[in-house]
Subunit: 345 residues, 2 copies
Amino acid sequence: MRPYSGKLDIKHGLVNMSHGSGGRAMAQLIDQIFMFHFDNELLRQQNDQAAFNVPAGRMVISTDAHVISPLFFPGGDIGSLSVHGTINDVCMSGAKPLYLSAAFILEEGFPLSKLEQIVISMAKASREAGVPIVTGDTKVVEKGNGDGVFITTTGVGVVPDSINISGERACIGDVIILSGSIGDHGMAVLSSRENLSFETTLQSDSAALHRLVKRMVEVAPDIHCLRDPTRGGLATTLNELALQSSVGMLLEESSIPVKAAVTGACELLGLDPLYVANEGKLICICDAADADALIAAMQADPLGRDAAIIGTVVADDHHMVQMQTSFGGSRIVDWLASEQLPRIC
Amino acid sequence: MRPYSGKLDIKHGLVNMSHGSGGRAMAQLIDQIFMFHFDNELLRQQNDQAAFNVPAGRMVISTDAHVISPLFFPGGDIGSLSVHGTINDVCMSGAKPLYLSAAFILEEGFPLSKLEQIVISMAKASREAGVPIVTGDTKVVEKGNGDGVFITTTGVGVVPDSINISGERACIGDVIILSGSIGDHGMAVLSSRENLSFETTLQSDSAALHRLVKRMVEVAPDIHCLRDPTRGGLATTLNELALQSSVGMLLEESSIPVKAAVTGACELLGLDPLYVANEGKLICICDAADADALIAAMQADPLGRDAAIIGTVVADDHHMVQMQTSFGGSRIVDWLASEQLPRIC
């Protein structure tokens, strides 16, 4: 017997302040939307925390708040993104992601039907990834103090023994591998914003990369660095790694895959794809001796088909990222200086 | 060498969209506010996830989004609350909390000085509790799409062997212990909202309960249920436990401590302290044979000084919570039906 009667009117209902109260209305929302779609054994414990068994060893934790606008975009929505984004942050350590938590901040007046659509998408992404959402929280803020829905996911995972992937491990002579084309997510989201539309079909690359990473650490356990180039794009992520490792980097522009639709949209808007966010790509830095095995393993995975070496790690006291351009020149690939695309994830 | 020059103008500066960009401005904000105050070895790894060693065994994960309004209130602020709230959810399983993550959603235009004040308070709460913030995330939304700052914290902890605390373990004949007075947090927050002030000094009870819980499980490893009565108050939390355990409960009103200032403020506003949120109290349900040892252990802790038995678990097919009133009558203590105090945590 539940503390409320009947079914939530998901088709016509709106989020109201009582859905965040801790009382009957919240119990109904949680049961009929969150528990119903996320359903799994740990969540069914219905305590304020989820308990699970772990082997002794190294664990990782990572968290991401998702505030993407619009909530739905070509290739995904805030629900699938919030699952993929945190799985990716966890597995960039080489870890196997185990569990996710999800905290929702809902704006009063948000349609329950859209909330359910987002939750269904989240549940699907979580199930496909094999990483269940085991605990959560729901808060409601007054209309005008939020923006539909914000979702913070946190993930935990276990790192296999002998794996030591970290941002400060790039060495001079290492090669830089990119798993596929850049700029897809950012341009897909931008294309779906008000007053902007492109003739081409831009799709977000939002995807969970943990299975690709698993293949990679199996063939090359001594990968030095892994990172997903999200906000700030490839350029900013490489600069972060160069700084952490106290090295420079030299890229080859012609080896960096960019889809024609992304190039076209970027040219139209005066954007540089090197700075546009990705949500299903990774950068791998490894010893040159490991590169062939890694590229082969990556290309055998659907999310790494276009994997390629895009540059090398070089000595540079100023930790700069430089690029040989397709026209034979050279340019500095600097940090993103301002806000290029707000609320992209 | 960092990718920005100079110091953030914390005294006069405001959050702007570039602080969420992933670029230079975000790196500066993270270094000079978050990293500076939260400083610890794991955070200094500066990867997108934090790695730590765990022994084999049972772990727990819990998450809470904090949207409290106002951000500062007597006895705390959103920073200390976001640390205490999640530590409490983790330790209500009997676990020792290990690490926290923190994800910030900032509204454009929010003063950096207030953000720093909140971060300092969070850092202090985390240090006092001995539970470091090891990873995080920062997002910025446009003015009017947020409300200053929202903080989602997630905690992980390890459960000692042989502890099995869970909401469905209340048994007929068990006693219900409350750690102290109720309603303090909710009434303190309410008192600090616009247009409401009381002559008395109401203070939030916001506190981390993990050391109290440690004392408790040491003297009584077979505690059946523990839960902190936050949103919805004591009444709603007891109803949740009654439902999960398929039992009824019988409370003794005269044994439930309520401070005179809280009673007074509640009377003035037509509120029932049984439904008002707490942030530093716990309910413990245990075998009657364990009660004396537990009460003694609790009273020896500053956060359990007023611990008392407030009722017993009884058979009831309708899983109702009933109460003997101070006037000799009896009333049903139902679930919170509507929103009593929005954005209380």
